[in-house]
Symmetry: D4
């Protein structure tokens, strides 16, 4: 049941066309399929409005396959996050499975058929940040967004960032990915006037404390319009940027 | 110089109607007014697209007044954040100054004349979180957004949150404000399908460590579409929510 | 010497039927068996009232076997916590040894003969939390409790939790297991009116800091009746829940 | 609506004596009274089963009075936590208000009329821990429990603890309050076989880091049956201990 | 005894013109004057090469005066760091005492007579960082350096920094002062090719944790040539920058 | 384009010999070569004034080779930091590649031809600190500095440090490398009157927390002239020390 | 009952001259006096062997007086730690009360009559560390030890420490007190061959984090024979040093 | 040169029998042997008074052998700390080398010939703490002390500790080793009246944070006479306990 069906159902209740009892029954009959190890939301569409995602970390390949099968019965494509090469190998029993190793992402379905709209920039500070940046960029693409990648634009070479000034000013949303001192979102936030999703990465050593330095820097950004997701959470950034990029205008 | 003027200028350069030299000159002549203690952006509009804001913390009332005067010459309203009652008292030399004590916000201009559009929900966990929630809500209103307040909807009384289910599902953006365990954004993020801006507050004691507990909880939220701003940063949340709420649709 | 025998002995002293000297002698003769590497309490029953437990982490299989043999001489079943598959393999020299790999628990004896009483719910947020949840659930079962498992009921899909509302309201004790933002105990604590034992898990990444985020969230829970055990301490939660579930009524 | 009425209502629905619509209506009509700054649960009894509590920190005396008035309409006594002497002074407009300064607790009603049952021990390490210990002890008494206070029984004078050995072994629940190294719950947990609720206090200096040292020690307690609440959370401990002490026996 | 005299003495020993005994005696006779509460180095010049400094924090005005008197006997000017207005008032018994309130610095002597050489830039992110920036700038000036102040050049308004590009490229040393996300040294370090001394400030709130966020960011700077001093340590930065600015060329 | 060429270009603009357009064009035509995974600065010389460096951590050997090839086209030597033995093996396709295993540094070119000037001391506390000390020392040598190594001069054997008193007093810059309690820079800073670059190492265990203890000690050094770089950042220290050592005198 | 009496009693039991019952009775009759708010050990002598101490922090002057009266009945002098001037004023009702303001210590009795033996050095890094150093020195003197004070011997002026080399080598125990980088115990530990008790102080700012930096440095000291007490715990250091100084030789 | 020879030399100087020059020469001629990678103190005896120790961590077997050879030339036994089995295997080229695997200690020489004096107790909380406890106990034995081991006497089974009451009261020094909540030193410190050296271990999981919980608990111990060494630092505790145990009586 997708969101529109749900809204219609609720309107029917308000208008008296459906009794609350009937509505409750309809909602209750198919909320999730219980696999024992997981309850798979088969009408999650009502609450989130987008294709299905399996958070792969901490799940066996059997569990992932089981969940994917239920989701695919509903017809949508499936994104699988945080899976390593070994698990990916076993996922090949799904004919349309593709693996994006750098980003540790898998996709079941044909990403080429997804129409891409709007304009999300994914900017990254250094070569080592690419895995997280790619996780964000691919997630956004699978969710139907047009993505521009600006990689290796770290703040200690500010001319490289400025060289992309025009693209930055045209973006609808920007994902700024950086490790070490995590300054990229502040600089980009000052140059743009769109929402900036900051993604700290665990790239660094010593006093980076696994990404803590970058995380704190981003939370303290003096640029307006910046918010932050968890360390290395490229998926979360891509998902949120997609939500924002696809906002409809106020009617 | 607002954003549209800037874009036009750049297009003129591209089309050859203006030489780069002329454009650079035009940009250079008025970028900011230097008050000694502060460089006031008088064409910040080009980069951020909205009314002016003075971050009040750590500034004397003389400094705030000086900056406000420069900004008002350009005709826009002025929001002043983080000012205490004493400083607010001195700001009354501005005829149209209003002070919102709970939120530590001041506004110069007539907020009643600001048209309000779209739909932002500000949800807060408990009575003690209201100052931060109000800072977010008022900021959003001053920036031209319609705001719905849902206060005292903490997760340990989930029925209170569920009672507002329909409003939550209708929002374009939600600001979720909570201290202590900081669980509100996770619950709301699961109930809605719009971006959720999470604001941890320093409300709590002991192992809340000044809001750290809530901050970490929000960064680790398992709900999609959630991002986080600094502890007690109601202004930042309101500003970002405004940006998102006022997104134009993809053309 | 079990608790009842001890109380009788003390009463005998108070009544003058036994001299303190005699009592002290009786207590002193068998307090523990010293294996060199461990002092095994053979009348621990007096102080704790329940079957024996060996904390397996940091012990060699020889040490575990040695302790188990002493304990079994006293006739009770033996729970062994935190043992890996390799050590478990070596424990098979005990005929009745069973290994529960997911929970890293071993049991010597026949768990099927343990009568199960009362009603403990073990609720867990996600698939990755199952090992800790199972450690809690099995511990509680071995200690003679009836256990209901509610898995994959994370707070970002609140309808899944609410679907079990009636079970939650019927429980005598609830163990709430969650990693990441650790919000489950707050939500469940608000829905129930029985003690909730919160177990943070190390599930998560980045700013979860090995379970610290969930731990802090649980300690700051705004729901009443919630207390917290160490990160990943499923055994401790199961043991405590058993104590509470088996409380006798006030006479 | 108390818990029994609720269960009856749900059974009526199951048996068909009441339609779900009617039940929902009944539940919906009085869930909470909205004071603007707070939503007061007037049928919280259904979910928690005990007298009402106002968390006083961060609320003005006007807000506290407003909430108290609504709660008193339902006839129960009211506990107010974390209020300072000044606020307490203003609460004296309630005739039956009593203030317990050391514990920063207020009570509206006559605590002398509360019947006290069972047996909770509140043990505290040092004189400086008394405010938190008293918050726990008074809370438990207001909720109808018999309380035994064992103060100044810190682990560095173990003979003082042992002098109370018999009382410790007779308790149904023990609240162990300690600052500094926080070892009391471990020692008491080893001496007793009932649940121990550990309360770290912020008493100490230097490397106690505001109670963090005691908190970590308690979370790592090697004694079984110990769980921990937030630093200085005497109220939470008293509330939980009351829940456990008043457990009915398994039928 | 200044550094040149010391080197001469040591050479005399090497050449046999002075016996080690005689040298040791000379060195031993005047190393410091013992005031009981402090040992004042009266030939510290040998080891540090510059005017005298009294670290004022934690010292009474009597102690500061006592130390200043000893130092002035040797003829040099005296810098007093971290003194508040009250102590400064009492220092006015020294005729030539001057107080710089914003920087909490005092100077005994006539700073106008100090010749200023070379070129140190002190750049600061925001108005609130000025006290620390001024402590650095004044220290450097008192130690004989020419100082250029670039204030309010935070990274979220990068055009303000770029407007000073030429000055930045001409500097011999740069002191970069910033609170919040602490990104300024990274940006400036990338634009310049001289040593950058980074000074984190405690300016900020919430997750700035008293300057920790800025400190970590600076330690993790990906720009080369950047090193960091303690939070708010303007004096230390000014002192080090002076050392570097006044380096003689390699002979 | 090196720094002198850049200054000349800017002067030409100021004198009117070159239009800004022409200057901008010249600057724009060759700022960096984009390899897809990295933007290689081929005129970084303008901003930093020294040979090229590749930060090797997190890059594949293919990426390092690609970048090195671009840099070598410009004729300079190349330092590669933080590469392990395996990657170093693959770098041997460059004829002049040398690997310094202890310091995890590689160099392409003939270091024997680099003229060495001035005087940098690298002092280290213990044998375990040598890898970081060597990274600093080799970096400084590759950048054209004369380096004196003083190893195993930890503060708990102060006579060993004092035995090098004369060398310490002759240095132009000192790099002080230490793990554990990190006291070396304080002692050396008190003995010398030149800038001291402090490098904390991750050597230690337990409460060294991966170098945090040494880092904090160095940041809090009470000796003047000390600044600190990231934990284990031998490269950064060597680079900065080189900048300082090669300072020209004030004209 | 002092230690010798206790040993005699136990020997009497072993020899059969006293029954265990009689011994237990004797021990039980006077272990402590219960004041309600504190249990005062009146035969603590058996376990600790030295004069009585009242830890003053967190106690009212009434409580302190009550405890002091009980202790004085047993005839010994009384040390009161951590009392402020106000409380000290009220203690003057005891005729022989003396207050040592800098160290926040009080003493009831005549310290002039205490014989002083052995040789404890109290060394301190800076003027600001004196309060903690004096707390240690006075405690040691009250407990009957001869104390030598070496103040202002911080490691950044190592010649000041070396000037006291002979005293350092003659000490039986050394207490080394330091804030900021906390390096003094390492340097002194390397110069001496007696136990060194390290006391970190909260002196410092910024990254000293209230003494954490000094504490970690001391715990990581590479000198042998060093152990550490809590931040600012001068009393504990003086007490421990007294124990060590007064060790009898092995018989 | 041992300590007595040094004292004699200094007395000779004071008495005029030796000139300072001659004394300095004698001291200077043999302070250490420089192996390049280490400076080996061959007259460290003067400063520390005991057999030689090589800190093995971070050293290659070649380096350890080289240092050992120099030390053995001076005739003393050699303790090697923190070496793994592999390195130990290579040390067998020394005929008298013995390896103690559990404690990761090696000894060159015949430990059977070391006379053992006095009385040190090594108490440990649990089986998992044995490696650290053994490192302490063996170190103390190699340094000539009689050692009594009390293992598995954790505070949650206080009767086991009390069973050794008499031994505890007879000790000259006690080393208390514990992980998890680290309460053992507090309990033992309250039972004894001799110095207690507390050793936190990294035994535990979750919120033990690698021994931090135990470390903080020990630093905050409310028992007098307790000091703390680094996490897992059995060697340091054994060395310090030896110093204390072997104190001569005050003459």
């Amino acid at each position: 049941m997708d969101k529109n069906k749900l809204k219609k159902l609720l309107e029917d209740v308000r208008e008296g066309r459906v009794t609350p009892d009937e509505a409750a029954l309809e909602l209750k009959t198919e909320p999730f399929e219980d696999l024992g190890y997981a309850k798979v939301d088969t009408h999650r569409g009502i609450r989130q409005g987008i294709p299905e995602v399996i958070y792969g970390a901490g799940k066996t390949s059997e569990q992932i396959k089981g969940i994917a099968e239920v989701l695919l019965k509903n017809g949508s494509g499936v994104i699988i996050t945080r899976i390593n090469g070994e698990t990916a190998e076993e996922m090949k029993s799904f004919e349309e499975f593709r693996y994006y190793g750098a980003a540790r992402l898998g996709y079941i379905g044909d990403p080429g058929t997804i129409p891409r709209r709007g304009n999300i920039i994914v900017a990254a500070g250094g070569t080592s940040d690419l895995p997280v940046a790619e996780e964000a960029a691919l997630t956004a693409e699978f969710l139907g967004n047009r993505v521009t990648r600006l990689y290796d634009v770290g703040v200690s070479g500010i001319h490289r960032t400025l060289a992309h000034m025009e693209e930055i000013m045209e973006a609808r949303v920007i994902i700024a990915v950086a490790g070490m001192e995590g300054a990229l979102p502040s600089v980009i936030g000052g140059l743009s006037d769109c929402p900036v999703v900051a993604v700290p990465t665990s790239v660094g050593y010593g006093a980076s404390f696994g990404g803590l330095a970058a995380l704190l820097a981003m939370l303290n950004s003096c640029a307006s319009g910046v918010s932050t997701v968890n360390i290395d959470n490229g998926f979360g950034a891509g998902y949120l940027a997609s939500m924002i990029n696809q906002m409809e205008g106020i009617k």
